[in-house]
């Protein structure tokens, strides 16, 4: 129990191991995680700035820097998302699980139900799964795909306001602004999106660590090494 997942896995010599997360997926995952941390930190400070700084305006560029970092991280987040979609097409079959929910598959619903029972301590054993279990897939689909897209669309819509009318960002994302009821509303939804993503991040991390510790499959190590080990 007290040992780390890695040593745990090593100790119980794996019966089976599966290459689930290919390198691009792993790199993307950590880049994505990093950009979310940076975006959330800078974003929060854009909404609720630090106490005022004294001196001359020309000596400081506090908000300017925060915003610049936010935008760079925003690009990393957005372009990363595009690359990940590409990999979802060309990568292995697990790489696609992020982008859709197989709601037409009966077995998926069964798995989902099984996971829910498992997490509510009703059932002892989790149904077996390969890359993501059904519940994890649903969570990650919402967390990554829905919220990610939402933040990208609202984020680049806000970004287009700075680039100006007729800029590429305006052409691609400007329509979001009237759709959500104006610039101020877009900002507030964008901000709310941050809280939602933090909400899911907490759950996501917990579930991953817990799965590692409590089930017979590795998950944290899997997103580091790519290999998912099965301990029995």
């Amino acid at each position: 129990m007290q040992s780390t997942p890695m040593s745990n896995a090593e100790m119980r010599a794996p019966r089976k191991a599966l290459y689930v997360f290919e390198a691009p997926v792993r790199i993307w995952h950590w880049l994505h995680a990093l950009s979310i941390i940076v975006l959330a930190a800078t974003g929060y400070l854009i909404a609720n700035p630090l106490p005022s700084i004294g001196g001359e305006a020309s000596q400081h560029f506090m908000m300017g820097n925060l915003r610049m970092i936010h935008f760079i991280a925003g690009y990393v987040f957005g372009i990363g998302f595009l690359v990940r979609i590409y990999w979802g097409i060309v990568g292995n079959k697990y790489s696609r699980e992020l982008f859709y929910l197989p709601i037409w598959r009966k077995s998926w619903w069964k798995d989902l139900w099984g996971e829910i029972l498992f997490y509510s301590f009703i059932r002892r054993e989790a149904p077996p799964s390969v890359a993501h279990n059904a519940l994890a897939q649903a969570a990650i689909w919402f967390f990554n795909t829905v919220l990610g897209l939402f933040l990208i669309f609202t984020g680049f819509a806000l970004y287009s306001e700075g680039l100006g009318l007729e800029s590429w960002a305006d052409t691609w994302f400007g329509w979001v602004i009237p759709l959500l009821g104006g610039s101020q509303s877009v900002r507030m939804w964008h901000l709310f999106g941050m809280w939602l993503i933090l909400f899911f991040a907490i759950i996501h991390i917990y579930m991953a660590v817990r799965a590692d510790v409590m089930t017979r499959q590795t998950s944290v190590s899997a997103i580091i090494s790519g290999w998912r080990h099965y301990r029995d």
């Binding site: 909404a47 305006a57 908000m63 009821g181 610039s183 901000l191 809280w195 759950i203 917990y206 817990r210």
Partner: protein, 363 residues
């Protein structure tokens, strides 16, 4: 039909020389952000055209748009009314009343069918069969529809006509409705603001007359010439924003030094208008320059976007309840953390009890 004065003739008779007339034209061109080649075009238009009839209607409103209009310094409101347009109906300014006033509407339709500009200040209420705004015994919305049927184009003055403004704020008891949701078949130029800046109003109107075309509009129907940028993009306090120097409270040290008003609720970052550049009342000041944040008065439904004194506001969609993104989101994230902690604890307990059970069974 009597001969009609062109703008140029009127200017000449006012003692304006041809040279200064041309200068006016090039200043107008520059003011509208157009190249010098347009000055000639403006001059030509003004020299040859009779004054365009304008019908100015008032629905539910506060008349601040008219008040703003008469503050225009360039051109002077008096010159606009006497020389540039023919203001054939405007209940706030016209000498006639009652039947004599209403007759003028029909006369205009007869003489200028499809040629006049319909300037709308305020909006029609639709509840109670429209009788929350009665004109000549009838609902205002009827008059609006009738006059819109025969006009060439509509100018929606102010946030009332453009978006609905204050009477349309939650719960909008009279169902006050912006013009574009009532008139669907005419070109509409929105000139939002509560009120719009005087020179923006006269600028849009004179553009339409001098160029005989609608100004280029953005996605939401506002003239790009005045509404394509946020106040924040051209605010003279922007260096303080970028530096991170804010007014924390009204009348504090930062306020006396002219720091950025973001933290006391300035909506400059989300408001499209010309205040920070054209400024108000002859370029004298604008809200930020006089120490108060922008209220966002040119934006759709700015009344329902939460506090005027906080950067983080309501979503603007939740009925009545106060719910800022930070509040709701913070609670959610907090709940997730607590939930996770509780679940983890439960897992440990469950694991240990199970472990115990296993151990005992092994024995």
């Amino acid at each position: 039909m009597p001969t009609r004065d062109t703008f140029y003739e009127v200017m000449r008779r006012h003692g304006v020389t041809r040279r200064s007339f041309l200068k006016f034209c090039s200043l107008t061109a520059a003011g509208l952000g157009l190249g010098p080649e347009f000055a000639g075009k403006i001059a030509h238009a003004l020299e040859t055209k009779p004054r365009t009839p304008v019908i100015w209607l008032h629905g539910l409103e506060c008349t601040c748009c008219t008040e703003s209009f008469i503050r225009s310094g360039h051109p002077l409101a008096g010159d606009v009314v006497l020389s540039m347009i023919s203001l054939d109906y405007d209940d706030t300014l016209m000498a006639a009343a009652g039947h004599q006033a209403e007759e003028l509407l029909e006369q205009t339709i007869e003489k200028y069918d499809g040629q006049y500009i319909l300037a709308c200040e305020g909006n029609p209420p639709l509840n109670e069969d429209g009788m929350y705004c009665i004109q000549a015994g009838k609902p205002y919305v009827e008059k609006l529809r009738h006059m819109a049927d025969h006009c060439k184009a509509i100018v929606a003055w102010g946030s009332c006509a453009s978006w609905g403004c204050v009477q349309a704020a939650r719960p909008n008891p009279t169902r006050a409705t912006p013009i574009h949701k009532v008139i669907l078949d005419k070109p509409i130029v929105k000139v939002p603001g509560c009120p719009p800046i005087a020179e923006v109003m006269t600028g849009v109107l004179t553009y339409m007359i001098a160029f005989d075309e609608l100004p280029e509009l953005d996605r939401q129907g506002r003239p790009k010439m005045f509404y394509s940028q946020r106040l924040h993009d051209k605010c003279y306090r922007r260096p303080h924003f970028d530096a991170g120097q804010f007014v924390e409270h009204f009348d504090d040290e930062g306020a006396r030094k002219g720091y950025c008003l973001y933290k006391v609720g300035c909506k400059g970052p989300t408001t499209y208008n010309a205040c920070s550049t054209v400024e108000w009342n002859g370029g004298l000041s604008w809200p930020v320059k006089s120490g108060h944040g922008c209220l966002g008065c040119a934006e759709d439904n700015f009344w329902d976007k939460g506090s005027f004194y906080s950067a983080v506001t309501d979503f603007g969609v939740m009925g009545g309840a106060e719910a800022t993104a930070d509040k709701v989101g913070g609670i959610l994230a907090g709940a997730a953390a607590i939930g996770v902690a509780a679940h983890a604890a439960a897992s440990v307990v469950s694991h240990m009890t199970r472990g115990k059970a296993q151990e005992t069974s092994h024995d």
